[in-house]
Symmetry: C2
């Protein structure tokens, strides 16, 4: 409520002096920081980095700033991150939960929370996830359709919702096809590359008549390990072993052979999570919690094929084959939007 000219002069002066309002004082006064907290499980994992980018971009569009923390898959670190975050009075929280999350969240009862990718099981929570059941089923059916009957799975920790959902879908798909679910072919891992490596080594070292001819691996990092294990055992993909991974990545697109995967829309997951959180903040109407679920897509590349003949040792045949002519050239991999 000032004359235009005065307004302009003040604004100019502010500009000149490089005045920047003190966000802290403002936040303290009005009790709103325009800040949201984000805790992902592993920022070095491209899937999580992409989630984070989606969140930050969306938050920025709405005038919020997102503070990003890392739990490194460790409940204790998650707890620390949440405590640190809390001191900064975020107006909401987006969390890829560890197994300790449900407990930790009790300490911050009034904070709007969106659970992203995984879910703590809290029935009141707003969640943004992917269709893990559909993805797990599609992957397993794809292998069944190719003729595999001994399909192994490397599965994440059973206290993580995505891992159990993918595992349940795998089991259901097997049984729906009349195949028996063999617990000996299912090995757990803690979501990291070397977990996948170790699990695959064990599964692939079974005697030939019991060794799986195909592997469904429950997350992107463990898939890398599984592929390396197959290489170390000199098993040819897909002739000796078919592999389906979960979550697409440039690595999956460009490895030889390009990997068949269940793709998840990571960037959109992040954007959705942020949008849901902002909805929570604004429509403070306590209606039924939102559950957003985004679809997965089975992308069939060249790491899956019909099963080969069982043989006594893996390296006993394997005729020389050209490395690059077995599949078409690959164009530059598409990433999430960058601009």
């Amino acid at each position: 409520m000032v004359a235009q000219s005065t307004r302009q002069r003040v604004l100019n002066a502010a500009q000149q002096l490089g005045y920047q309002p003190n966000v802290l004082a403002r936040s303290l006064r009005q009790g709103e920081t325009r800040t949201i907290g984000v805790v992902v499980t592993d920022i070095l994992n491209p899937f999580h980095a992409t989630l984070a980018k989606g969140i930050q971009d969306a938050a920025d569009r709405h005038g919020y700033v997102a503070f990003l923390f890392n739990s490194d898959e460790e409940p204790a670190k998650e707890r620390r991150a949440l405590e640190t975050l809390r001191g900064h009075l975020p107006q909401g929280l987006i969390l890829v939960p560890t197994s300790g999350a449900r407990e930790h969240l009790k300490a911050m009862p009034d904070l709007p929370v969106v659970e992203l990718d995984r879910v703590t099981g809290n029935p009141d929570a707003t969640t943004v996830t992917t269709d893990n059941a559909g993805g797990g089923a599609a992957a397993t059916r794809h292998l069944i359709d190719l003729g595999h009957t001994r399909i192994g799975m490397i599965v994440g920790q059973q206290d993580i919702s995505t891992a159990t959902q993918r595992h349940d879908a795998y089991r259901a798909a097997l049984e729906a096809a009349g195949l028996t679910y063999d617990p000996a072919l299912v090995l757990p891992g803690n979501h990291r590359e070397d977990d996948g490596y170790r699990a695959a080594m064990r599964l692939l070292s079974l005697p030939p008549d019991r060794r799986p001819t195909a592997l469904f691996v429950g997350n992107n990092e463990m898939t890398v390990g599984a592929v390396l294990a197959a290489r170390a055992l000199n098993l040819h993909i897909p002739a000796d072993l078919s592999i389906v991974g979960f979550d697409d990545s440039r690595w999956a697109q460009t490895m030889t052979p390009p990997l068949t995967v269940v793709a998840q829309p990571a960037y959109d997951l992040g954007v959705q999570a942020c949008e849901q959180l902002l909805r929570l903040l604004h429509h403070t109407g306590a209606r039924t919690p939102a559950r957003v679920q985004l679809p997965t897509t089975l992308i069939i590349r060249h790491s899956t094929g019909p099963p080969g003949q069982p043989r006594t040792t893996a390296s006993s045949r394997d005729p020389a084959r050209p490395a690059s002519s077995s599949h078409p050239p690959v164009a530059p991999s598409a990433g999430p939007p960058r601009a």
Copy 2:
């Protein structure tokens, strides 16, 4: 200065009530936020994600929290990030600068800044970088020693210090070996995968007698593009084309064939940057600015070898070769510390 028992009781009560000091009020009062700002160029690039992790881990150890932003390689976004950051009164800043950074930093003259990986050229700046000159020279010499005489380079933007340093070292190494520097074999790119793809496509489409037999690619993302371009042209690595990349990664370790690279200690760079910044904050003595430079390592894998015979079309020979036996199995790739 309270009796022990009282102290305990108060602490307990605080715990019970879930009391958490209000960081904003505290910061406002004491004028120190225990916060540092971090702006990297591309959080989706594993190199930058690793820098960020090193910084965050180090900051955490010292009781600081690091707020992470993204400039997406765009000066305008960098400016926005810095403005946002400034409002939150960080006590210092770690920046992987874009070309606009020098200008942007003028708006925040009293903020201690560490320039990370790249350098704006400000002589007063504290910097933490790698030995780009040494790395570029080692890569080039390696190719020369293998017998290559037409060595191309895909180089980053010339207003980015790392790009010019690597390029200058390449040129100097060529000339030191008595080879002529051919500008037609040097193509610029904007640090992204598709820039590398396009540049490599152009270089590799030169007539056979002028086409480079080896490529030194100036950063990790563009190297991916270059490899895919070689595949698209059905050029065999290393028989038809040797490639050396800059910056190691899991992708480089596990692609076929495993990539020869100049490795940089990304995680340590982040840690060092944070430590230097904290040193600036505490030893406020305005002595000569620190310049930390970490070494690079040439890791010779299987994407480099002696040049083949020039041929008219790339796909005219290429006898079938076993894909997996030409190099030893690869163990799970080592990453930076996670715990």
